[in-house]
């Protein structure tokens, strides 16, 4: 197996498929193309891609169903592409197990950036498959799960219990967009509309505390109307794929 990442593109529109193929080609990725859900499932099983780019509006299958099926056997990163600008569709796809989303029209640069984020997650998992446990490192951010402490560089970050729980949840899903719904369920165990407001406040506080040390790029990305994501700050992979 070549060390170049393999991307599976599932898209029914020929022009967009072509655009994506050309882009991936110029960037040195290997890729496979699928025109519908059935092909996508076959390609996903036979070629074991590293990342899947999935259009939600396929002629034969609901995108969400494909995600659920794929999630049955693999945790490969899935980036959904949706022409609909409705947030609900994205949230549904994310809750079904997708990692990230792109809204049409998207720029080529944006697509590549999302791909890099997904691949970094894959790399991190491959490098440290069994180090699930004690320590989390991401750029200058470090979490000592055993001690229940988080550090920015050498400085300890003072977090409230809920902020710490939020940070751990995001850290364990680095690179993945977590929906409000998912976070609320994981942290508070329930979902009511009024909690969403509190979640915003906690996240704002957490972001502020994480940014205080560094200043440059924020660790936590806000996706308004959808959720939050912890970015992987891999210095080596910052610019090139």
């Amino acid at each position: 197996m070549s060390n170049k990442p393999m991307i599976l593109v599932v898209e029914d529109d020929a022009a967009i498929r072509n655009l994506m193929a050309v882009t991936l080609d110029t960037q040195g990725y290997r890729y496979h193309l699928a025109r519908n859900g059935a092909e996508a499932l076959i390609e996903a099983t036979t070629h074991q891609p590293d990342v899947m780019l999935l259009d939600l509006g396929l002629p034969d299958m609901e995108g969400v169903d494909i995600i659920r099926k794929v999630r049955g056997w693999t945790s490969l990163p899935i980036i959904v592409i949706s022409a609909r600008s409705e947030d609900a569709d994205k949230v549904e796809a994310l809750d079904a197990g997708a990692d990230d989303y792109l809204t049409k029209p998207f720029s080529v640069d944006e697509m590549l950036a999302r791909l890099r984020v997904a691949l970094r997650r894959v790399n991190a998992e491959q490098q440290a498959p069994n180090r699930e446990s004690a320590l989390y490192e991401n750029g200058s951010l470090r979490i000592d799960y055993a001690a229940g402490c988080a550090y920015m560089g050498e400085q300890e970050i003072h977090l409230t219990p809920i902020e710490y729980k939020l940070l751990c949840l995001l850290a364990k899903n680095t690179g993945k967009v977590l929906t409000h719904n998912y976070i609320l369920k994981e942290i508070w165990g329930s979902y009511t509309a009024s909690d969403v407001g509190s979640l915003r406040v906690f996240m704002a506080m957490l972001r502020k505390k994480l940014q205080a040390g560094d200043g440059a790029q924020p660790f936590i990305q806000t996706h308004i109307g959808i959720g939050y994501r912890m970015l992987r700050m891999d210095r080596s992979a910052e610019d090139a794929p």
Partner: protein, 657 residues
């Protein structure tokens, strides 16, 4: 009278208690069918008391008329001829069908038969007489009915006796103090008038007149204490009897008329207040509530109604209960629903005291106009005194008025909806015209530039190619913004916007908007001023982000390169205040408020100039207003424009940490 044009003939048939009336109605119905005329059954109700058999006969005849397709009407009046003639004149009756008149109905009624009087009063109307096949029966019936009608009632007899005794007492007093005997005669006449006033029925007038003569004879003429008297007095007796009879008749008539006037006044009052309340009612439910209350007030019964929706009767009735008849607590409304459904379908009465579903405890009636049933009214009628004919008529008037009000309300709404849709249509047409122009311009540029690149790739230098690529890219981005705005407009269909309100950090919204900025903006300095990063507002984030994008793009569009654009947010009382400020030229004096109008495009430009259908700011205003906020712009000094908007702040109940 010959009718002109396509107007239908209108036949009037008079309804009465007479046993021949049924035959008359049947013949009138047959006549109306054969000539295709409209049939109206008229019942003239007077103030005289009716016995039950008569009331039932009238009721049966009215039912018969309705079954034969007649429209039922009741008018009030002591003199049937005048009432019928008046009604015929007002409602354009062309033919009147009558049974052969039984003759004069009361002692002092205007002279002449009904037919001859009608001929006199309504000379234009053709009068058709149905020969009376039951003359013999009728005559017997008349005698019997007279006796039955003038039944003697205990209290009235007692009153008569008392009044006469009193007169006699006063008479003795008068003779005792030596007044002339003629005064006593006057006292008795007074007494007879009093009897007429305090009792019902002509029989008391006759009786008291006769008795007073006899008593006078017995006590005050020689020989006293004897009915014998000298022939001198016979003239006195005769005159006294005549005067007593005459004056008591007159008194009865005055009394009857005053009762009628009072009834009429009451009826007018009830109908007037009903129609006033109906005028004030704002919608269908309010109209039905007014009807319900007025009916309950009038009848002193509990009243319910089922509104009629598209699919039929509303699932649950609206109740209005009064104590007097214990409301509907013990009525099996679900079981009686069938009766209400029947009324809704057939637009006729049913339930208690009718032939259909007569086991029901409520009387159900339809509120209808033009053949359409708008609602079904139910009146608890089983445990209270029956509703008399008079109240029933008032009730029907109220129901009719209610039906008219509902129909008027419906038509007003229909008209509003049509006006609204016409307005929307005009807006849509305007929008489409503008859009097609605005779409075509960048598309022409894109396809043109792409064609140049395809055909002349080799001849263009790096710089030239780059310019064309950039132009294609910018046009595509601009088109996307337009599509985004158009999509939002489709969400504002019918003037309402469905918002997905969430508590969001204002800073998140600003960040998101900046992420979407188009490339041109990079040639301006963009600064954010967000002192409070925990400021939260209730917003539909996608829409507010779009508002910010539109405002920022607008600032970019109307400022030269190198300008400074400030995006800020802060708190103002219980609103979040957001602003976008630039140091461009601002807008012309006096146009600050117009910029939010649809199709406003800043400085007047040639119709072919590109870009800007003035959609963006109009949309911003619609979105902010839907959030319950305001949006405005002012020129600022030394130069520039400041757009600001407010949306309600979200208060977050902080979790214990």
């Amino acid at each position: 009278m010959q009718n002109t044009g396509a107007e239908r003939e209108r036949i009037l048939v008079c309804v009465s208690a007479s046993p021949t009336n049924a035959d008359v109605i049947r013949r009138a119905a047959a006549l109306s069918r054969s000539i295709g005329a409209e049939l109206i059954a008229l019942y003239v109700e007077d103030a005289r008391a009716h016995d039950e058999a008569q009331a039932r006969a009238v009721h049966d005849h009215l039912n018969l008329a309705e079954r034969r397709g007649a429209m039922l009407t009741t008018v009030y009046g002591n003199d049937p001829a005048t009432a019928i003639a008046e009604y015929a004149r007002v409602s354009g009756i062309t033919k009147i069908v009558l049974g052969k008149s039984p003759g004069r109905r009361s002692l002092f009624a205007p002279k002449g038969t009904l037919m001859s009087r009608l001929n006199e009063l309504a000379p234009d109307v053709e009068i058709i007489i149905v020969p009376n096949r039951l003359t013999e029966d009728n005559r017997r019936f008349s005698l019997k009915s007279l006796l039955r009608r003038e039944r003697f009632s205990g209290p009235d007899l007692l009153r008569t006796a008392l009044i006469l005794a009193l007169c006699t007492g006063v008479g003795f007093l008068f003779t005792g103090i030596g007044l002339a005997i003629t005064n006593v005669v006057l006292i008795y006449i007074l007494g007879v008038m009093a009897v007429a006033l305090f009792s019902t029925g002509y029989v008391y007038s006759v009786l008291s007149s006769l008795l007073s003569v006899l008593v006078f004879n017995f006590f005050f003429t020689e020989p006293f204490w004897s009915l014998r008297s000298s022939p001198d007095y016979f003239a006195t007796f005769a005159v006294m009897f005549a005067v007593a009879l005459l004056s008591s008749s007159l008194t009865s008539r005055i009394k009857a008329q005053s009762i009628q006037t009072a009834n009429k006044a009451y009826q007018t009052e009830v109908l007037l207040s009903t129609s006033q309340l109906l005028q004030k009612a704002e919608d269908r439910a309010a109209i039905l509530n007014v009807m319900q209350r007025q009916l309950s007030r009038l009848l002193e019964h509990s009243v319910l109604y089922y509104d009629m929706a598209e699919g039929g009767l509303a699932p649950e009735p609206v109740l209005y209960e009064i104590e007097r008849d214990e409301g509907f607590a013990e009525v099996d409304l679900a079981g009686e629903r069938e009766a209400a459904v029947w009324v809704g379908q057939n637009a006729k009465h049913a339930g208690c005291a009718t032939r259909v579903h007569s086991q029901a405890r409520c009387l159900y009636m339809a509120i209808r106009s033009e053949g359409k049933v708008w609602a079904v009214v139910g009146i608890r009628a089983d445990n209270a005194p029956a509703i008399d004919e008079y109240r029933k008529n008032l009730m029907i008037s109220i129901l009719d008025e209610c039906a008219l009000a509902i129909e008027k309300d419906r038509m007003t709404r229909e008209k509003q909806r049509m006006e609204e849709s016409a307005r929307q249509e005009a807006l849509r047409a305007n929008l489409l015209r503008s859009i097609s122009h605005d779409l075509r311009t960048p598309l022409t540029s894109i396809s043109g530039n792409a064609a140049i690149l395809l055909e002349n790739l080799g001849q263009l230098d790096e710089e030239g190619r780059r310019a064309l690529y950039a132009s294609i890219y910018d046009d595509a981005i601009w088109l996307n913004g337009l599509v985004e705005n158009l999509l939002t407009i489709t969400r504002t269909e019918n003037g309402t916007m469905k918002l997905n309100l969430q508590s969001e950090l204002v800073s998140d919204a600003v960040e998101e908007a900046l992420r979407h900025l188009d490339r041109n903006a990079t040639k301006r300095t963009i600064v954010t001023e967000l002192p409070d990063d925990l400021l939260m507002a209730r917003m539909d984030s996608a829409l507010i982000v779009q508002v910010l994008i539109n405002l920022i793009n607008n600032a970019v569009k109307y400022t030269p390169e190198g300008s400074r654009i400030v995006i800020g947010a802060g708190r103002k009382e219980n609103m979040a205040l957001l602003w976008v400020e630039d140091d461009g030229q601002g807008v012309p004096e006096g146009e600050e408020d117009k910029v939010f109008d649809m199709f406003y495009t800043g400085v007047k430009r040639s119709p072919d100039s590109r870009r800007g259908i003035g959609l963006g700011l109009a949309l911003c205003r619609a979105i902010v207003q839907a959030h319950g906020g305001e949006i405005a712009m002012r020129n600022i000094r030394p130069h520039g424009a400041r757009f600001w908007l407010t949306i309600p702040i979200a208060e977050v109940n902080e979790y214990e940490q």
